[in-house]
Symmetry: C2
Amino acid sequence: MKRINIGIIGLGTVGTGVLRVLKENAVVIRERLGAELVVKRAADRDIVRDRGVKIEPGVLTTDALEVINDTDISIVIELVGGTTVAKDFILKALEAGKHVVTANKALLSTHGPEIFKKAVDKGLDVYFEASVGGGIPVIKTLREGLSANRIEAIYGIINGTSNYILSKMTHDGGKFEDVLRRAQEKGYAEADPAYDVEGIDAAHKLAILINLAYGTNVALADIYTEGITRISPLDIKFAKEFGYRIKLLAIAKSVDNSVEARVHPTMVPATHPLALVDGVYNAIHIRGNAVGPVMFSGLGAGMMPTASAVVSDVVDISRNIVKGISGRLSPFACAPDAVRPVKIKDMALLEIPYYLRFLALDKPGALSKISGVLGAHNISILSVIQKDRKIGGAVPLVIVTHHAVEAALACAIEEIEKLDIILDKVVRIRIEDNLGTVL
Amino acid sequence: MKRINIGIIGLGTVGTGVLRVLKENAVVIRERLGAELVVKRAADRDIVRDRGVKIEPGVLTTDALEVINDTDISIVIELVGGTTVAKDFILKALEAGKHVVTANKALLSTHGPEIFKKAVDKGLDVYFEASVGGGIPVIKTLREGLSANRIEAIYGIINGTSNYILSKMTHDGGKFEDVLRRAQEKGYAEADPAYDVEGIDAAHKLAILINLAYGTNVALADIYTEGITRISPLDIKFAKEFGYRIKLLAIAKSVDNSVEARVHPTMVPATHPLALVDGVYNAIHIRGNAVGPVMFSGLGAGMMPTASAVVSDVVDISRNIVKGISGRLSPFACAPDAVRPVKIKDMALLEIPYYLRFLALDKPGALSKISGVLGAHNISILSVIQKDRKIGGAVPLVIVTHHAVEAALACAIEEIEKLDIILDKVVRIRIEDNLGTVL
């Protein structure tokens, strides 16, 4: 039986998971592939620590180049992360004629074109299923399973940490800071959580999804990115009253001749399946022009789910190796010469419903003044909640608008914040209430 | 640019959808594939009817053999359905050196091995994504996306008609017969609905999923199949009271060294995502030993969703053709020589919780007699509902058991039905309350 030798760079959590999956599922993988996968070399700075999985003598090395330059190795798995040495390792592996599997969304969303061009030039494969949605095969779905579709929209819950925090705030209450601290204690959030809670990680992943869906190379700077750090328990509560849940959504929508590309806290109908995806689960809702709405959910991170995606990629590439081919799928998802810029829709032109919360002096005429400003900017009101009346005191006043233009809303908010009855910055949360499905 | 010629046999709803998808999405398909897909010939008995999509002159024919024997054609799409002429067409197409795409679950679940063997012998591909779950790429997910996993369980809502009827009964009330009639009027159920409501269609699809998951050829006769025709509004109502919804589930579970393979009405926790999949939507919940729980949902039937799957298969095969290969994926999902029988678990040995409804005379001691028989068969009771007391009259008495052995339960039911306080057949519905995820 044919043997395919693999090298791994980075034996942290996911790398250890890859070793475990290759060992525990060796029989079924061999039967499906018709070939044997062998870990020939694995590099990590720490080759002493017991990872709880048996590693053959001679496999471990502290030198990534020993993996890259091993002429028996056909596939290099990069699990170092980050955008510096990881990039170097991947380019060197391609240069040395190795196919590459990576989970590195930060790298692919910033240096994808350079890496992919190198792969195409060298006639090699770069697979990256684990970069988005952990074990959920969403990359495969976009590149292959839905290849007959024009993609109309993607709505993703693709950052587990943010979703865990928002779910906890929704179901158990608590302020963002407190819930974050407990998430950190439980290992669901990093010591430096900015990457996750500021929406950056989700934006990286969204860039990858957009590139696959639209055959382009979107710049990260073109993706509007807003995190969850300013979501308050009050907004969680009011969202419920209006029949919504707050989720950090990564959204891509094809509208007219442009693509909306945005990551921000979003109110979604409480009955929509996305609203029910709680905790560290991820979900990606895709609307194709033929298939209609489809949704995929599962664990978006973790040792074994991520390793599932990495090893399935290795099997995929190995199926090519068995057949003596490469480049069956372009890493760009479309033929390299068909990759072209798409127009990213200016956020100022966004036209959706909004949730607005004002801290207003409870004086007669307050609502009238606010709605007057909104009306002057052509923003009409769908509903209003004003609770806990304290005549002469400060009360939250919440408005949900009909579809409004983001730029007009920004002007209106600026004006409203100057009103003497307004005591604090206006809170504005975008709403997606037409996800296009009853699924 | 390379042209790949396609032939279609059967221009009904799905065939027409395939023509539409190929036309409407021609640009994006060409860019993704790097080649052009051309419908060279299409056969149907009716070549006169206006299908609302432009067909080039000379394409239509009433003779399927003209498609099969056209030497320019590389891929034949079989959309005739059924297990007689469709089988003949597919075997002839393979004999003529054509790759095949089909949506025909009845054929594949009965004659799959013969067709697949022919394909392997001839070095050709048979793809069948549309055979299960309409546009949801679940076949691809099992063969490729989760290839690194041992599949622990599959729970599928894979018959849209049954799910539509159960959803209507759950949300709007009504008897099975009445809801079925209205579904027929709306085109959601066939004039002869047996195939759908008796669970046969779901069993065909489950056979395909099991074969892919476990590298085997399960016999349809080995799949326990029970439809939804005897589900009453009363059971729908009691299910709600116990916190369940009734779904027609297709279940495969790997337990010890055997596989549970069964299709039947199932009570699932009302909060589980499967319980929320309503109407004609399908959903497949898969648990892999590495990935954990993943769920996929979408439209399980219809012109365009099914065409999405068919054309995505055509793109997949065409990607092989572009690279000059075939047989990259075994139609068996594992290497042909690794296909082997699996032991299907005897239903008598099934051990799950059960819902039992008795029509009992409302006399003191009724519950005691029933629970006495259950206890004698080692079946313990989780909860009981007895409502609408009519002393001396007939009242429904509902019991949910702890895990019980199916054979023991059958004996107990037989004994209970002989009790003089029991006025009707006992209703028994299986419960799955441990789907293995909080997703």
